[in-house]
């Protein structure tokens, strides 16, 4: 994997960044017309290169085209369209209310671009996790460097080669490379760093950002739990199980930050749940575990070994109730269900990020609140329940990036909801208007005029002025008038 800056023959990093900064300073990226033209170009890029993108995703992750469209191209398309249709509204300054005391004056909050931003992305959704934030950065009028993950090399290279053909390469550049390039990039002074990945790398990113006081958004992961309450209707149960299976093994075979990590279920319903999960897995991915269809593979050898080690522990291996088949050559791991693995094993203390699904049984489903609260805050929390009181308890007593009732992962598709973590799952959010805000500075602008001067603001101080200020801060207009007339209410 070569590293280099595309759209710049032989140019070094410093020169590229200087060019990007120069473009930003020229004011070109601030215009609505530039932002829109770039978003449209991005849409064209997606449409005209659909097959190549499918191919690259197949190469890097074995993603099926439908899955690739649903989780990658579709997401980008939807985001770009949404931005295009809302951009004028987002860019307009927002009026703020002012107390009468300030009269005559007007106040507004004006969104302005931050400058040059760095977007560091992950390998599991190498297209959408890269382009979705880029859409936000462009919409907000920034110049952008995108560093795709080197662990999805085909997608990284595709982005590096196609983006310069469609987007303004004086303002948007793709820089490919591994750790070394990332380190070089992090030494630079950015106006914002947007990072998607693991919490260990996030710490490095934030420490580097601290040197330049660069604001960061960290999109991390965590162990996203599913609370699976008993549903009395069989058809609801069927839908719930479908959604869990689709949410666990569907998006990149569990290698997703908001994918299901483990399921909490009451003891007495565990076996029924497992039977239904098994049945649905077969229906979705086929009967023969050696030739499963429609499922992504593990990204690389490193992650394959990591996942294999998670189930090596004999106590963990003993808890496998379904699957467990692994094929090192194809980097494939079968959808695997474990029942009550030891809670202190790695599989229950680390984010799984793969096709292993522990089922944890509880005496009472309400214990799940305590179970979740005793672990770091996850990016997403899922609960299948029709019990409204329990829903309210979940909402008010647990903390997570998001909560979704009765479905998995669909919150990601809601542009009206902020997508982001809390605590160990990161901070800062994006999607829709939140992406725009993430890459903008809301500048407070207050406009005053020269007439109507409030003398008591100024020294030399005296008792009259003190009284005036007291009343003014209470917005006690009657008191102020009385004071000005030399009267007093007392």
């Amino acid at each position: 994997m070569g590293s280099g800056v595309n759209g710049m023959e032989g140019g070094g990093l410093d020169e590229s960044l200087a060019e990007l900064r120069q473009t930003f300073r020229s004011g070109k990226t601030r215009t609505a017309s530039w932002r829109k033209s770039q978003l449209k170009a991005l849409l064209r890029l997606i449409h005209e290169n659909e097959d190549k993108i499918f191919e690259a995703l197949k190469h890097d992750l074995g993603k099926h085209a439908v899955e690739a469209y649903r989780d990658e191209l579709g997401v980008v398309e939807k985001s770009a369209n949404n931005s295009l249709s809302c951009l004028d509204e987002w860019m307009a300054p927002k009026k703020s209310k002012l107390p009468l005391l300030f009269f005559p004056a007007s106040a507004q909050v004006l969104p302005e671009p931050l400058g040059l931003v760095l977007i560091l992305t992950s390998w599991n959704f190498p297209i959408s996790m890269a382009l979705d934030p880029v859409i936000g950065a462009i919409s907000a009028g920034n110049s952008v460097v995108l560093k795709p993950s080197e662990q999805a090399p085909a997608c990284s290279s595709l982005l590096a080669h196609t983006i310069p053909l469609y987007l303004d390469s004086k303002a948007i550049k793709v820089i490919e490379g591994g750790k070394e390039i990332s380190q070089q990039l992090l030494e630079q002074k950015w106006d914002k760093i947007f990072f998607t990945g693991s919490s260990s790398v996030a710490r490095i990113v934030m420490s580097a950002a601290a040197k330049h006081l660069t604001p960061v958004t960290l999109e991390l992961g965590g162990k996203c739990p599913v609370i699976y309450d008993h549903l009395s209707s069989p058809s609801d149960t069927e839908v719930a199980v479908k959604r869990i299976v689709g949410g666990k093994w569907g998006p990149c075979n569990g290698q997703a930050c908001i994918g299901v990590d483990y399921v909490l279920v009451e003891e007495k319903y565990a076996s029924q749940a497992i039977e239904m999960l098994k049945k649905t897995i077969k229906k979705f991915y086929g009967e023969n575990p050696e030739q499963l269809q429609n499922i992504s593979r593990i990204v690389n050898e490193h992650h394959f070994q990591r996942l294999r080690n998670l189930i090596k522990d004999p106590l963990v291996a003993d808890s496998i109730v379904h699957g467990g088949l692994i094929d090192e050559e194809k980097l494939f791991i079968e959808p695997t269900i474990l029942l009550d693995p030891p809670l202190d094993a790695d599989i229950m203390t680390e984010e799984i990020f793969g096709p292993l699904l522990p089922i944890i049984t509880l005496k009472n489903i309400e214990e799940s609140i305590e179970f979740i609260n005793s672990r770091p805050k996850p990016l997403a929390l899922y609960a299948f329940t029709k019990n409204e009181a329990f829903k309210r308890r979940i909402l008010s007593e647990t903390s997570s990036g998001s909560v979704t009732f009765n479905d998995i992962m669909v919150q990601f598709l809601c542009d009206t909801l902020p997508f982001g973590g809390v605590g160990e799952s990161g901070f800062g959010s994006y999607h829709g208007k939140y992406s725009f805000d993430n890459f903008s500075h809301g500048k407070a602008v207050l406009q005053r005029y020269f007439f109507l001067e409030l003398e008591p603001r100024f020294p030399p101080w005296n008792d009259f002025k003190m009284n005036f200020i007291r009343l003014a801060y209470k917005f006690d207009y009657l008191g102020l008038i009385l004071l000005l007339l030399g009267l007093s209410r007392d």
Binding site: A210, K391, G423, A444
Partner: protein, 550 residues
């Protein structure tokens, strides 16, 4: 041990309200705990069990107790506060309201002591202290009390066809245990100490406030008053300097809110990175004032003076740092400024009671060093008098100081005001943009086009046209920096948001199941997903029926 009991007694006898409020807030059990450290003759104070006594003693004998506050005490303090937070009590609307009312009451009842502390630390004139500290905090408290139920209510969000049928909302939840590190320039109330505390409480967090040690009287008083008026199981003051702050920063906080210098801002952010703690940094910067020649000069100058010397003697993060005006206009500006300064502070400003002093010897030296640099000292138009004993420097105006001097590179944070001149006012944009982004930028002009250009071409935390510093009293505007002047914002609802996590909540029903989401995947499913994504209802219906518009 003797000193401890003496201090305890001393504290109780000095302040009758202490025991009373204690009884009110904590029934018998807490009273029993009170004398434990004394009776047990423990050598070291246990923060976790005797917070009352510990911080009570802090107010009386900071030096001795300060040594006690190390990483271990910070950890046990954190453990205690986390326990309170986890109990869920700070999340309730009632708790938040009670605490906010406590702050309101504290300010009402103890205004005199607060003003006294500010006079001790900064010789702050009463009216100024009232204007910039007390009243603002009261205002913030009032608006939080009034708006809280509205702020806490989840906001509905629209859902799209992709997730139909569903409903969505955004819920504000507290972050957890937060640390607020505040500066010395507005040590008490204003924005800088109590104002963020109001935001943190309103959002339902447990709070530790670390006031600046450079304003010791205010720090002391805050520690004393917080203990008396607020719920100490969830809200604490830790006094101290670098070692205490370092001990605090070792802990895992759920948010750190820091106001101060960008140098320390970097240290705070690096420490926060270890625990992935989100931060808000309220820093400063060189806030420029651009003055056009078409303005009502008297009004403009008075407003500049109000923001510079009548607001903590220039020791404010939003204080005008330097002026840019045209070459021709500068002499007029200087004349009016000289005249108005005399109106405000008299013929001899060194004797004026209406101006704060420099906070410490260290800062006094820093400022006089700025003035004494070659190429600077000969640029003084008026002022320049200094009195190290009283830590006073006269309002000093300088003309056309070279850009490469310290005074033009560093934030001045004091009563010195350089005036730069340009041929055409538009050139001021380049001057400002060549420096790090300031927290505030000011323009005085009657020219509408210039207003527009100024707002569009200059990046700053906030902007105020035809006045100075007033924008920070507007609670409907976010107050915060950008670039070198910081990140994150607060005031009013923005404070609440700064200390909240916006949790996305999506509720789905079990109906409306689309098989296209699930494997086995087919070309038809791909087509359906594409049309679903387009949001075109007709196409979706056609696709579902197996037709196509193409």
């Amino acid at each position: 041990m003797g000193t401890l009991s003496v201090n305890l007694l001393h504290f109780c006898s000095v302040d009758g309200g202490y025991t009373r409020s204690l009884r009110n807030q904590f029934p018998k059990k807490r009273n029993l705990l009170l004398p434990i450290p004394v009776l047990n003759k423990q050598k070291r104070l246990q923060f976790a069990h005797s917070s009352f006594i510990c911080s009570a003693a802090l107010a009386v004998m900071p030096d001795e107790i300060k040594k006690v506050f190390d990483i271990e005490s910070a950890a046990s303090l954190m453990k205690e506060l986390r326990g309170s937070f986890n109990s869920g009590k700070t999340k309730s609307y009632e708790w938040r309201i009670t605490q906010l009312k406590g702050i309101e009451k504290m300010i009402d009842e103890r205004e005199k002591e607060i003003l006294e502390a500010l006079r001790k630390d900064l010789s702050k004139p009463e009216a100024e202290a009232f204007m910039s500290e007390i009243s603002m905090t009261k205002g913030a408290c009032k608006s939080a009390l009034k708006e809280l139920s509205h702020w806490m209510k989840p906001k509905k969000a629209k859902t799209s066809i992709t997730t139909y049928p569903s409903s969505a909302e955004i819920m504000s939840e507290p972050l957890g245990v937060v640390l607020i590190i505040s500066p010395w320039n507005f040590p008490f109330c204003q924005l800088l100490s109590v104002d963020p505390v109001i935001g943190a409480i309103a959002a339902g967090n447990a709070v530790v406030l670390k006031p600046s040690e450079i304003a010791p009287a205010a720090s002391n008083l805050l520690s004393k008053l917080f203990e008396e008026y607020l719920d100490n199981s969830s809200i604490r003051v830790v006094e101290g300097a670098v070692p205490e702050t370092t001990a605090l920063l070792e802990q895992k906080w759920d948010k750190i809110f820091y106001t101060g210098s960008s140098r320390v801002g970097r240290i705070i952010m690096a420490a926060a990175a270890k625990h992935l703690t989100p931060i808000t940094l309220e820093l400063g910067g060189k806030c420029p004032v651009v003055v056009d020649s078409n303005v009502n000069l008297q009004v403009a100058v008075r407003r500049i003076i109000a923001g510079k010397w009548a607001c903590n003697d220039g020791q404010a993060c939003v204080a005008p740092d330097y002026i840019i005006t045209t070459k021709d206009f500068a002499p007029k500006l200087i004349d009016v400024m000289r005249h108005e300064l005399e109106e405000f502070f008299g013929k001899n400003p060194m004797e004026s009671e209406d101006m704060s002093r420099i906070v410490s010897v260290q800062h006094f030296k820093r400022l006089t060093n700025l003035l004494d640099e070659d190429n600077v000292s000969d640029k003084i138009i008026f002022g320049g008098q200094r009195d190290e004993n009283r830590l006073k420097i006269a309002p000093t105006v300088l003309l056309d100081v070279p850009e490469d001097t310290e005074i033009m590179r560093e934030e001045i944070f004091g009563p010195l005001l350089p005036i730069l001149t340009v041929e055409k006012l538009e050139e001021s944009f380049n001057v400002i943009n060549s420096k790090p982004k300031p927290l505030a930028a000011y323009l005085f002009s009657e020219n509408k086009q210039l207003h527009k250009d100024f707002v569009n071409n200059i990046s700053a935390g906030g902007m105020l046209i035809n006045d100075t510093i007033l924008h920070l009293t507007v609670s409907s505007l976010p107050f915060g920096g950008v670039g070198e002047s910081g990140m994150g914002s607060y005031h009013g609802k923005f404070s609440f948001d700064t200390f909240s996590h916006k949790k996305a909540v999506l509720c789905r029903g079990f109906g409306g199941e689309s098989s296209a989401r699930y494997p086995p995947y087919t070309p038809r499913k791909l087509k359906l997903l594409k049309t679903l994504n387009s949001g075109n209802i007709l196409s979706i219906l056609l696709a579902l029926l197996g037709f196509s518009k193409d």
